[in-house]
């Protein structure tokens, strides 16, 4: 039997997701911190257990904002698609297999973050051609305890 999540009100969820999107846009000059906010959006703040469509929309919005602020890709769309895909997967995991332990939560987030990095790179490569890896993946993994704990607190997957 699935356990019911303690959802935040829709307004708070939208506000949190919008804040992350805005942060992604404002942090464009600093790709490292921007990636931190971006992954927090995709794997946490965009997830709406009540609506897969809203999850996809917020995740895609973050991806479009990120690529739009970078202005380096000849053909946009790779990051939004990867964001949507991973966000939908994370939402599905959140609904199907809620976790109680922060450690388990972080492990799952680490796996999802790795998958998200690979998928983003693959999609951008498909859409815009080869590009450098950069060091955002390192920022994402090194800051994983921080952003995954923030999401843990915000999303309350453990039911607190």
């Amino acid at each position: 039997m699935k356990r019911a999540l303690h959802l935040r009100p829709p307004g708070q969820r939208a506000l949190g997701a919008a804040a992350m999107v805005l942060g992604t846009a404002l942090l464009a000059p600093w790709p490292g911190p921007q990636s931190l906010v971006h992954v927090a959006l995709v794997l946490g703040f965009a997830l709406d257990p009540a609506s897969a469509l809203l999850t996809a929309v917020w995740a895609a919005a973050g991806g479009w904002v990120l690529e739009g602020t970078h202005r380096i890709y000849p053909h946009l769309g790779g990051t939004p698609w990867a964001d949507m895909t991973v966000a939908l997967l994370a939402r599905w995991l959140l609904l199907e297999w809620p976790v109680d332990s922060l450690k388990t939560w972080m492990g799952r987030q680490a796996v999802l973050a790795g998958l998200w990095i690979l998928l983003v790179h693959f999609a951008v490569r498909l859409a815009a051609g080869p590009h450098i890896w950069g060091w955002t993946w390192a920022w994402v993994f090194l800051s994983l305890p921080l952003w995954s704990w923030i999401i843990w607190r915000w999303q309350r997957p453990g039911g607190r």
């Binding site: 053909h75 939004p80 698609w81 895909t85 498909l126």
Partner: protein, 291 residues
């Protein structure tokens, strides 16, 4: 009875699902339509269709070449037919002109000899050349009407032929050098020893009266010595084929240089003959043995 909405139908839930699907697949399609992806897909499609395109190109090439080959074959057959007719015509023409050509060649060679020999000679065509005739052999188409007399020397471009044996009004008969009753004064090229060549038949002869002390080697050239007053000194007679010491004299066998039975024309030397004909004016190459 409560109406149950299908999650994929035209209900709020279904509509949201369809919007989500469209959103996700639309993004995916947009990603795949990127420049790199487009190029990759084009490359993939090109690679995938390459075998078919190659097969089609090979098929077109084969058909084109088949048509060309058929046209070429027809053309080749027509050319072959024309060439066969041409060959037949040429063969017929050659058969007609063959004897004339041979006569012309012989006349040309004879003319060359005549210009090289430093004395006046007269040419005559050989009408008959019987094999193995002892007394008289070749029959010439000229006789007293051309001023011929008996014992005039007869030569050919290859070498000495013989001498006139009998002279008629319009024909004359030659005693060939290989006849048993024919004799020619000869000398050997290297030792300068002189002797008399006596015919032994079959385009061969034997030198008589050579001392056993003379050194003669096979292959040595034999020239006329001029001592018989029929031939001038220095005309090629033949080549030594065999040397054996005899009881009283050296036995030297000679292959005559001139093919006596295959001569189309000859030159008649004047009488009395000049004393000398320079050796360089006569053929120097060895023409082989008797035919």
């Amino acid at each position: 009875m409560a109406h149950q909405h299908s999650p994929w139908g035209w209900s709020p839930t279904g509509r949201r699902r369809w919007v989500l699907i469209v959103l996700w697949t639309g993004h995916g399609a947009w990603v795949l339509s990127g420049p790199k992806a487009g190029g990759a897909w084009a490359s993939f499609a090109s690679t995938a269709t390459r075998p078919v395109e190659s097969a089609a190109a090979a098929w077109r090439s084969w058909r084109l070449h088949r048509a060309e080959r058929a046209a070429d074959l027809e053309q080749a057959r027509a050319q072959l037919s024309a060439l066969r007719q041409q060959v037949q015509m040429l063969e017929a023409a050659q058969m007609v002109a063959g004897p004339q050509v041979a006569d012309d060649e012989a006349a040309t060679r004879l003319l060359g000899l005549k210009t090289k020999v430093p004395f006046q000679t007269k040419a005559a065509r050989v009408l008959v050349a019987p094999v193995g005739a002892s007394f008289g052999g070749l029959i010439l188409d000229a006789g007293a009407d051309a001023g011929f007399t008996r014992d005039q020397g007869v030569i050919a471009p290859e070498g000495v032929v013989g001498r006139l044996w009998s002279v008629g009004a319009t024909q004359s008969e030659v005693l060939p050098a290989d006849a048993p009753n024919a004799s020619i004064g000869v000398m050997l090229a290297r030792s300068r020893a002189t002797g008399v060549l006596q015919g032994t038949g079959s385009n061969r002869g034997e030198i008589r009266y050579l001392n056993n002390q003379e050194v003669v080697q096979p292959g040595e050239a034999v020239y006329t010595s001029g001592l018989d007053r029929v031939f001038p000194r220095g005309l090629l007679v033949g080549y030594v084929t065999e040397v054996k010491p005899g009881d009283l004299e050296l036995q030297v066998k000679v292959a005559l240089a001139a093919p006596l039975r295959r001569l189309p024309a000859v030159l008649i030397l004047p009488l009395p003959s000049p004393l000398e004909a320079q050796p360089p004016l006569v053929p120097q190459i060895r023409t082989g043995g008797a035919p």
